[in-house]
């Protein structure tokens, strides 16, 4: 009886850690997305590319550096130069290095910080590359290219063995193995910390003059261009910075699993779910992003953990049900709550009472030509064609 109670406690602890970890990860991605779409109007559908670049940074660069250190420390590393050795000695080498890092905490810590920094730089650079083809063109072109590029990142990861072990995936050394307790707890705590740092960085950027410029680009890029600002450069900078932040998430997920494989970075998880979080919470403010993220993560983790209980209600695999839930929620939110749960707030400018300067409608909208909410009519009339509304007029 005691054993069962203990194991239940362990299960609940695992769920809590899992939810905390995923909340930390996805809050960073959705904040970066909010930075791009909610504030600058750049519809980045390529978050999966940036996240995968973070993961590949850990597997292809950081792991090599750690192995190199291990080889020089003479702890009996097996060779890892060729593709074959890279794949088949990977587990053994990683095991050795975990022990080595457990004794050399400073080395592990410095590698952790280096991987975050390197992940950011690689993601930032990748943001430049993915923005090259279509950042000058209409938003729909940008969406098309970014969606296809997520597939390209996966195809490369699947077939080039030295990036992330190809189809087999690869283990990465746990740089936090000096922590004596549960390694997932320290990873989750580190993720939450990085999330808080990201929040403050993004908040500062949004409330700076550049943040106001970004909102100007979103609202009317022609006006911004006519006063001498380079709209394309602003959009590209925003995309690059946010891509860098998303890559940090890729780094963290690699350490959480201690394993990198291309199929971890599928489009559905890293692009569509963050978009849903953004849409539910409301684009343009970080509070909404937090709430949307918390709701979705809790719901998803509960579905995954209690799969066995749900499977008696649904007569097909629960994975399919989860995807349908994603799409249905996205559509329902877009139709019935286009502003999300929390509408957008004005920016905070130190020293200026912004509210007194802005006399017009403060409800800033992220979509064009929106109908006044009071004129919308009921649910049925909205689907049928707003007949009631027209009659009333």
């Amino acid at each position: 009886m005691i054993e069962i109670a203990a194991s239940t406690a362990v299960v609940y602890q695992r769920i809590v850690i899992d939810i905390a970890m995923y909340f930390g990860l996805f809050v960073i991605v959705s904040m970066a997305l909010n930075f791009q779409y909610g504030n600058a109007g750049v519809p980045n559908m390529g978050c999966a590319v940036s996240a995968s670049i973070g993961g590949y940074t850990v597997s292809a660069l950081i792991t090599r550096i750690i192995y190199w250190v291990g080889t020089n420390a003479n702890i009996g590393m097996k060779p890892y130069a060729t593709d074959y050795d890279w794949n088949y000695n990977n587990q053994f080498n990683t095991y050795l290095m975990n022990d080595y890092i457990a004794e050399h905490a400073m080395f592990g810590m410095s590698m952790f910080i280096l991987s975050i920094a390197l992940g950011f730089v690689m993601g930032w650079f990748m943001g430049y590359i993915i923005s090259l083809p279509a950042i000058r063109l209409r938003a729909t072109y940008l969406i098309i290219t970014l969606i296809t590029m997520a597939d390209a990142a996966q195809i490369l990861g699947r077939n080039v063995v030295w990036i992330s072990g190809g189809t087999l995936g690869m283990w990465v050394p746990n740089v936090l193995s000096w922590y004596p307790g549960d390694r997932t707890i320290i990873t989750a705590v580190a993720t939450m910390l990085i999330g808080i740092i990201c929040y403050f960085i993004l908040r500062t950027m949004l409330n700076s003059p550049y943040g106001r410029l970004m909102r100007g680009v979103r609202e009317n890029d022609l006006t911004v261009q006519s006063v001498g600002k380079d709209v394309v450069a602003i959009r590209r900078n925003v995309l690059m910075f946010a891509s860098g932040i998303t890559a940090v998430v890729g780094v963290l997920i690699a350490y959480y699993y201690s394993y990198v494989i291309q199929s971890n970075f599928i489009r559905a998880t890293w692009t569509y779910w963050p978009w849903l979080m953004l849409m539910i919470g409301g684009a343009g403010n970080n509070a909404g992003t937090f709430i949307g993220c918390a709701l979705i993560i809790a719901m998803r983790r509960v579905i995954i953990v209690y799969k066995w209980a749900l499977e008696s209600f649904v007569w097909y695999p629960i994975v399919i049900f989860e995807q349908q839930l994603l799409a249905t929620l996205l559509l329902v939110v877009m139709v019935f709550r286009p502003d999300g749960l929390i509408p957008e707030k004005l920016l905070r400018i130190p020293g200026i009472d912004y509210r007194r300067l802005v006399h017009e409608e403060t409800e800033v909208d992220w979509r064009v030509d929106r109908i006044d909410p009071s004129k919308r009519g009921g649910i049925l009339s909205r689907i049928r064609g707003g007949g009631k509304k027209e009659e009333a007029e």
Partner: protein
């Protein structure tokens, strides 16, 4: 004796499929002004219409083609009425509508998974990866044996192109469609029912996509994700065509479809078998190259050539100058 190599037959069947999809994608983009990411998923339903025809009713898959067209068309109307039209009436901009088509894609693709799953669980049929090549008819021509789908897919493309050309230039409805694609407000003032035009265009595009999907399992492997995988090629074809011109989409779709198969086959022959894994990169690279070099695709080249006087020079060289 074989005067058409099998790889070319394969390329032409594939290219016909991509061409039909590209035409539909372009037509939606012209009338609704959004890229329809659910376009590949329509094709996925066509795959399972063929599957049902053969495995459930034990008929020739060709009987399923009209049913596929009708089914896809009705699905297109349904999605337009329920989602796209509602969102547009609520004032959704291009980005919101595009995201809604992605949501539709995720949602509809799951029905194929459910159908495949239930079919396998209930009847024990192979529904996750299947090929209907054996259920196709074969015929001999000049000593070479052909699969029926090879000429039929080619005829279907030509038929669709001719009938679309006839519809868009000769009928009142087609002209109304072109007008509302050019300027919706002005054509509404002139008395064209924009909503009807939209519904018709979603019917035609949905039907064509589902039809293209219906002949996928006759040559390539059908699976729940088979339709959605065609989307990248279809978008590349439409982009090469310029996203605003149906004739451009024909050229673009056929070029992308043929080059995807032929380049992969030649690459595998010249460089080694590893090239085969990178086949999905070909339409992606094409997309990026088109956007970098000429975002308006073939249409842009054509327009520039016409403006630069290339057409007149060519006609003069052929002895058919206007001045004479």
């Amino acid at each position: 004796m074989s005067f058409i190599p099998v790889i070319w037959m394969s390329a032409i069947v594939y290219a016909s499929m991509i061409t039909i999809l590209s035409i539909g994608f372009t037509l939606t983009h012209m009338t609704a002004k959004i890229p329809n990411f659910a376009h590949g998923t329509y094709a996925g339903f066509g795959v399972y219409v063929s599957f049902m025809c053969v495995r459930y009713f034990e008929m020739s898959p060709y009987y399923g083609f009209p049913a596929a067209f009708l089914f896809g068309g009705l699905m297109g109307i349904f999605l337009y009425r329920i989602v796209v039209s509602t969102l547009r009436r609520m004032g959704g901009g291009a980005i919101v509508l595009t995201i809604s088509t992605i949501a539709i894609q995720i949602f509809m693709a799951q029905f194929q998974h459910i159908f495949a799953y239930l079919t396998r669980e209930t009847y024990g049929l192979m529904s996750y990866g299947f090929l209907l090549k054996k259920n196709d008819f074969t015929f001999e021509f000049l000593g070479q044996s052909f699969q029926g789908i090879f000429p039929i897919s080619l005829f279907l493309v030509i038929g669709i192109v001719i009938s679309l050309r006839w519809m868009l230039t000769k009928t009142k409805f087609g002209i109304a469609m072109k007008a509302s694609a050019e300027d919706p407000e002005l054509s509404a003032v002139l008395g064209i029912n924009i909503e009807k035009v939209q519904v018709a265009s979603w019917f035609i595009t949905g039907g064509m996509a589902c039809l293209a999907g219906a002949f996928l399992p006759m040559w390539f492997m059908g699976s729940p994700g088979a339709g959605a995988r065609l989307l990248t090629s279809c978008m590349a074809g439409s982009l090469l065509g310029g996203l605003g011109n149906i004739y451009g989409a024909i050229i673009g779709g056929f070029t992308i479809g043929v080059s995807e198969i032929i380049f992969t086959a030649q690459g595998m022959k010249l460089l080694g078998l590893w090239v085969g894994e990178y086949r999905p990169l070909i339409p992606m690279i094409a997309t990026i190259a088109i956007l970098l070099v000429e975002p308006s695709g073939v249409t842009g080249w054509w327009a520039r050539w016409r403006v630069g006087g290339g057409y007149e020079r060519l006609m003069a060289r052929l002895g058919r100058s206007k001045e004479e």
